[in-house]
């Protein structure tokens, strides 16, 4: 894994946007935890390292064959009930996704650790194209490591890393990535209608390396499923979660049934906010930006286009949660 990481970094080059791992970070690739300093022998440090090691050992290696179309098909009714009755989901523009072949779906992400936009979109994708079409979603390693969430692998969820994204695209699949990741999904509620990828441009390089179109997927409503107060980045740093668990945030929110919810590790009951998703026309990067596109320019174009759509979707909403 370390070799893969190194090769991915070297291929993606140095970063102009903030550190040697910026483009890898948005696809889940992170530097290995730093060795424990000689002086770090206090019980708290040892406990935190033990937890980190336990979770790290549970990080699954992506096996694309774990996706199970029959399982997905049989669970469509449950997804449909939840998406239709609780979230009143509405997905527009699925016809903008190329009918076949590999495609990189790039979405904005909302809703804390319970992300209703993913549920609504994956259901719509599966029913529109059929469960036979290969479709993978990249998620934080920790999500797939959590006890009880192993079933996500059967839906095609794989641990986010450049290597896994490449494997999925090479298989001709549609791949859904959320470049904003934990940074975006835990943004405060008053930033709900902002696309925030934190400058992570890895998805553009991924699309260029595999010559696949980028299809932006814009969702609204997810950040109304709880009152998100803070990402808690300072808290995460103080607890060394960024180095140990690749967690740069320790979000703080008011959410059912906990009330004050710190970390959102056990999820929460999302409020029944209406989720609307709009799929935008596919972007053929080289056709639109020339044979040697500037990654930053493409990134700006994608995020600006998504922000315009999010603004339009926000203008349509009359009331929070109600939609």
């Amino acid at each position: 894994m370390g070799t893969q990481t190194a090769s991915a970094r070297s291929r993606n080059g140095h970063k102009a946007d903030g550190g040697p791992f910026a483009d890898a970070a948005d696809l889940g690739e992170e530097p290995p935890p730093e060795p424990e300093p000689d002086g770090a022998h206090n019980p708290l440090d040892r406990f935190v390292h033990a937890v980190a090691a336990a979770f790290s050992s549970r990080v699954p290696v992506a096996d694309l064959d774990e996706r199970d179309p029959d399982y997905i098909r049989e669970s469509l009714p449950a997804q449909w009930l939840l998406a239709s009755l609780w979230f009143r989901g509405e997905v527009r523009g699925l016809g903008n996704i190329p009918e076949e072949g590999a495609v990189l779906l790039v979405g904005n992400h909302s809703g804390g650790n319970m992300t209703p936009d993913t549920l609504v979109f994956t259901l719509a994708f599966s029913t529109y194209f059929g469960v036979e079409r290969r479709f993978y979603q990249l998620a934080h390693n920790l999500v797939l490591s959590m006890p009880g969430l192993g079933f996500l692998r059967r839906y095609g969820t794989v641990a986010a890393s450049p290597e896994n994204a490449e494997r999925a695209l090479d298989s001709g699949a549609a791949v859904l990535v959320y470049p904003g990741g934990d940074h975006e999904v835990h943004r405060p509620s008053w930033e709900a209608n902002t696309v925030n990828f934190a400058g992570r441009q890895g998805f553009v390089r991924l699309a260029l390396e595999h010559d696949v179109p980028i299809v932006p997927v814009v969702a609204i409503g997810g950040q109304e499923t709880a009152l998100f107060l803070s990402r808690g980045e300072g808290l995460a740093k103080a607890l060394k979660l960024d180095r140990l668990l690749r967690l740069k945030v320790l979000p703080i929110s008011l959410a059912a049934p906990w009330g004050l919810n710190v970390g959102d590790m056990f999820g929460h009951i999302p409020l029944p906010a209406k989720i609307t998703v709009e799929v935008l026309p596919a972007i053929d990067v080289r056709e639109q930006f020339g044979p040697r596109p500037d990654v930053g320019e493409v990134y700006d174009h994608v995020t600006e286009t998504m922000q315009e759509t999010l603004d339009a979707l926000a203008a349509e909403r009359r009331l929070p949660i109600i939609g």
């Binding site: 029959d70 469509l76 009714p77 009930l81 998406a83 239709s84 009143r88 699925l94 529109y128």
Partner: protein, 167 residues
């Protein structure tokens, strides 16, 4: 889950048959249908395949269907190949007509759907979806009746004009 809707159309079965066997017309009269594309070289008849989708709740559901019965102008049935399990049937029956009474057709549309293996949750989802699906079928039949009767009226006027011209 089986849902059906029936309507009487003031047109002969042959005319209604032309509507229900023409895949290019489905988007024009079927309510809730967002896709009805020809997916085989064969356009009509047993073996013809169509890619179909109907919006129900938060998703467009359907899949690839294949015509399995084509008895002109009485029965047209299809079954799913991929997607949710479904069987559909158009059943056209000529109502009593006479020299002084125009031809009428009883048009029945049946749809059975579900997801095998989905268990109790699947059954609940079928029940929850039923009112929307039923309403789509009813609206579809009303629109089919409107279009078919309009077509019948045009044909009758054209026939009368042709007869008058030959006198």
């Amino acid at each position: 889950m089986r849902i059906q809707a029936v309507i009487d159309v003031a047109a002969p079965p042959e005319l209604v048959w032309d509507f229900v066997t023409d895949p290019t017309r489905y988007l024009h009269f079927m309510s809730g249908i967002t896709r009805w594309e020809i997916a085989s070289e064969q356009v009509r008849g047993v073996g013809a395949r169509y890619r179909t989708l109907m919006r129900v709740g938060s998703a467009e559901v359907g899949g690839l269907v294949e015509i399995v019965e084509h008895e002109q102008p009485r029965d047209l049935a299809w079954t799913s190949v991929t997607g949710i399990d479904q069987r559909g049937r158009w059943r056209l029956r000529e109502l009593t007509s006479g020299p002084t009474r125009p031809a009428r057709t009883q048009v029945e549309l049946r749809l059975q759907y579900g997801v095998a293996g989905a268990g109790l949750i699947g059954w609940i989802a079928e029940q929850v979806a039923a009112p929307a699906v039923r309403e789509n079928l009813r609206r579809s039949l009303r629109e089919l009746k409107r279009q078919a009767e309009h077509e019948q009226a045009r044909a009758a006027v054209a026939a009368r004009r042709a007869a008058a011209a030959t006198r």
